[in-house]
Amino acid sequence: MNIFVLLKRTFDTEEKITIANGAINEDGAEFIINPYDEYAVEEAIQLRESHGGEVTVVSVGGEDGEKQLRTALAMGADKAVLINTEDDIEYGDQHTTSKILAEYLKDKEADIILAGNVAIDCGSGQVGPRVADLLDIPYVTTITKLEIEGDKVSVVRDVEGDSEVIETSLPLLITAQQGLNEPRYPSLPGIMKAKKKPLEELELDDLDLDEDEVEAKTKVIEIFLPPTKEAGRVLEGEISEKVKELVSLLHKEAKVI
């Protein structure tokens, strides 16, 4: 089975966000594989373990993305591809990333493409379905279960807490929801092996793409932090008094009840 994973490097979930010169300050921040993409990597490795084949992890971004790709290789992926847009693209949006990924994938004859359902930084969740559309293959988003037999596929999709059982076929793109699996940690031998696994670096030129073909359709005009919340009132007294006071405050002061 020819398996591809779309992977994004993101801020660690524990990072505090600050702004410097109108942009998110990346100085000293820890970066990780986008947590939802981690489920995709794990599922891809499990698919290879049961169906055979090869797992290729693809990322679009700057050179720094190599670290997260190496982590995916250490988890068990076979090959990695970094499409480095650092020199060509100043600002890209979901249209940009999807175009680039689809251009890379169009002649790869992927049986299945796995991605996270959303990246925790920009939070748009667009790239998976956009790539599937550009490749003209079906997709199912936010899945929690995947079963493949021949080219028949059965998936369970999380729909705001309900689940749908969906039947479809390969080739297919899916996006992973929490609960799909438990991503493994890279083992020490895995980390050693990962250093020798192939990591190919490409640029837009290698994909025969012009900058204007991938030009962003949207623009960020301002980034700001939410107003900091003042610590509120911790109520005093006996439990029963505190409860009565709270109900009264929510009713009369906050007026939410």
């Binding site: 667009q126 807490g161 700001f224 939410p226 911790v234 439990i239 505190k242 409860v243």
Partner: protein, 325 residues
């Protein structure tokens, strides 16, 4: 500049979701006096078109087909795109719901246009339609515009106030027949897991539990409180990881991001990942045994105490209040 705006009405269990009416309100801002066109897609639409008109649509186009009884990206995109082809809207609004998140990127890709996902506000500034959206799960916000082509956005439920319902409003409803074919995904079965009815992302009141809830059974006083208040139950990642509840209830940086009017955090310490999912709630109440818990830093009101003592008392007190009212 006036714009013709198409708003997709989203139907669940035979009714329109609130976010559809919120979409019409967003469209009113975006249109700047232009026409607001509601689009309804499904197998049996009944009188839902009238509801869209009462909430601000000038006109409604419906696409009805047996094959649209269940949402599928292929079926719904064919239906919606045939409306786009006929009507040529200059802006499109969907809800940022399971359906909207799944469908909007495909439509945007078909139309070769940009898409601004998960907007919590929209305004006209400097001649542009400017959307505000959370990034880093609400740890920051960005203002974004579409630089060329169709202005397309999905809006987060519960953030843009719907217009007043006016039952005297009238508008034309026309049916469009579209060819719905070659559906590549088929919904075989739908299992309703969210049994309690109130959807987390649209809930006005959320009672959430963390590790302090201690067990799956520990969620029952929280559910009782939520029932009294007509709210939904949520959870922290800690509670989900400990298997006290399903991941579908998880609120946080991974999981759902919610903005209810009232968020009651019970036995939740307040890890930064959890705060990312709920700190923009209008009013936050924290109940925790540990007076040093981080959650008190973002709470408007806090009670230091055992949730198993406090929560049932709260439910009782609210019950009394609501009976009086």
């Amino acid at each position: 500049m006036t714009k013709k705006v198409a708003v997709l009405g989203e139907i669940r269990d035979g009714s329109l979701r609130n976010v559809s009416f919120e979409g019409l309100a967003a469209a009113r801002t975006i249109a700047e006096g232009g026409e607001i066109l509601a689009v309804l897609v499904g197998a049996s639409l009944g009188t839902l078109a009238q509801d869209m008109i009462h909430y601000g649509a000038d006109r409604v186009v419906t696409v009805e087909d047996e094959k649209l009884a269940q949402y599928t990206p292929d079926g719904f995109s064919q239906a919606f795109l045939s409306v786009v082809e006929q009507e040529k809207p200059e802006a499109i609004v969907f809800g940022h719901t399971a359906l909207g998140k799944d469908l909007a990127p495909k439509i945007a890709s078909r139309l070769g246009c940009g898409l601004i996902s998960d907007a919590v506000d929209v305004e006209i500034a400097g001649g542009n339609v400017v959307f505000t959206r959370p990034i880093y799960s609400g740890k920051a916000f960005e203002k974004k515009i579409v630089s060329d082509g169709i202005v397309f956005a999905t809006i987060r439920p519960n953030n843009i106030a719907p217009l007043e319902k006016e039952t005297s409003r009238a508008g034309e409803v026309t049916a469009l027949s579209a060819e719905i074919k070659d559906l590549r995904t088929i919904v075989r079965e739908v299992a309703k897991k969210a049994t309690q009815g109130v959807d987390l992302s649209e809930a006005k009141i959320i009672v959430a539990g963390g590790r302090g809830v201690k067990s799956a059974d520990g969620f029952s006083p929280l559910q009782e409180l939520a029932d009294v208040l007509g709210g939904a139950v949520g959870a922290s990642r800690g509670a989900c990881d400990a298997e006290y509840c399903d991941y579908s209830l998880q609120i946080g940086q991974t999981g759902k991001v919610v903005t209810p009017d009232l968020y009651i955090a019970c036995g939740i310490s307040g890890a930064i990942q959890h705060l990312a999912g709920m700190s923009n709630s209008k009013v936050i109440v924290a109940i925790n045994k540990d007076p040093e818990a981080n959650i008190f830093k973002v709470a408007d009101y806090g009670i230091v105490g055992d949730l198993f003592e406090v929560v049932p008392m709260l439910a009782e007190e609210f019950k009394n209040l609501l009976i009086k009212a």
